[in-house]
């Protein structure tokens, strides 16, 4: 889903840079203000470990439809384990290093890539998870739906940005959006399965890991989930 240089119009690049800088900056402020001093060393280690794990997981490409491949994004899992603010920063670290070290995603498209994968792909799963949990009370369904919709929405956002960049990107919205959404729904299904297995396993085995997540770790939510 990483958009390279030369695919986006100047206006789209500029707007997405501004939006992403604002939201990433706000996430940094939320993290600054929200940490317990005694937990800082452990929080930094856990965050670094999960960032490295999902960076490594993104190196595995698996075949999907039409001769294309895909890899996990991990935005949903990071968001649910660490909370959306920290999850956003983890994905930002991954995307910035991928851009500058490996040329995976263009420097002019970094704002757009942050918007799709570190913002939409991280915050939306969290919102969907919360809403589904309130309605259904099912942890597995909430994790799966959050991950699936987060992935597909991130792809649709990328499709919209590319479509709006026509004629630089020569497909308009009517082709770019469905193409991205269709292929990434397969990726979303894989992400949904991984997230729906991983999060309940972590809650059962290592609930203390989720203490950074304001929803999963707070509000007595773990006790409610474990009581079911």
């Amino acid at each position: 889903m990483h958009i390279p240089d030369g695919f986006l119009s100047l206006a789209i690049s500029a707007v997405t840079y501004v939006i992403s800088i604002l939201i990433v900056g706000f996430s940094l402020r939320k993290i600054r203000g929200g940490l317990d001093e005694r937990m800082i060393p452990l929080t930094a280690l856990l965050t670094a470990l999960l960032t490295a794990l999902f960076f490594a997981a993104q190196m595995m490409n698996y075949p999907i439809v039409g001769g294309t491949t895909a890899h996990l994004l991990g935005g949903a899992a990071l968001s649910l384990i660490l909370g959306p603010w920290t999850g956003c920063i983890c994905m930002t670290v991954i995307l910035v290093l991928q851009c500058f070290l490996f040329g995976d995603g263009g420097i002019t498209a970094l704002g757009a890539n942050l918007l799709t994968m570190a913002i939409v792909g991280v915050f939306l799963p969290y919102i969907i998870y919360n809403a589904t949990m309130r309605v259904s009370g099912s942890l597995v369904l909430s994790c799966a739906l959050g991950a699936f919709i987060g992935d597909v929405a991130a792809a649709i956002t990328a499709g919209v940005l590319l479509g709006l960049s026509a004629p630089i990107f020569q497909y308009g919205l009517e082709i770019a959006v469905p193409a991205m959404a269709l292929n990434h729904s397969v990726i979303g299904a894989g992400e949904a399965v991984v997230t729906a297995v991983l999060i309940p396993l972590l809650i059962k085995a290592k609930p203390e890991l989720l203490s950074l997540s304001p929803w999963l770790g707070g509000q007595g939510h773990l006790e409610k989930v474990n009581a079911k």
């Binding site: 390279p4 940490l35 929080t43 670094a48 794990l53 190196m59 920290t86 991954i94 292929n183």
Partner: protein, 100 residues
């Protein structure tokens, strides 16, 4: 969390990351994403305005699986280090700013 973040568990996490990198190098290395295919149909080429040191996750001039594996492992450690420094720096500033 304190009970979980032991040296042993951190090592287990890093070994798991190394396993992902190894699988990504030897088994799941081929990449052709949707956007690559669409761009190919259009005859568009992904230009890079900023010359990255390791384009396409390979070491230029050392295009072997072993070199790619080493690059993947080292870059995973770099990601670990950068994320750790970001969180540590931010946290320390936050603590100072809040006067704790």
């Amino acid at each position: 969390m304190k009970a979980f973040m032991t040296n042993r568990n951190i090592a287990v996490g890093l070994v798991a990351a190394a396993l992902f990198v190894t699988l990504g190098t030897y088994v799941f290395g081929y990449s052709m994403e949707t956007l690559d295919v669409k761009a190919e149909h259009l005859g568009m080429e992904a230009k890079s305005l900023f010359p990255s040191p390791f384009p396409e996750y390979i070491v230029p001039g050392l295009e072997s699986d072993v070199a790619n594996l080493l690059l993947g492992l080292i870059s995973t450690l770099v990601v670990f280090g950068v994320a750790w420094v970001v969180l540590k720096t931010l946290s320390r500033r936050g603590v100072k700013a809040s006067g704790v």
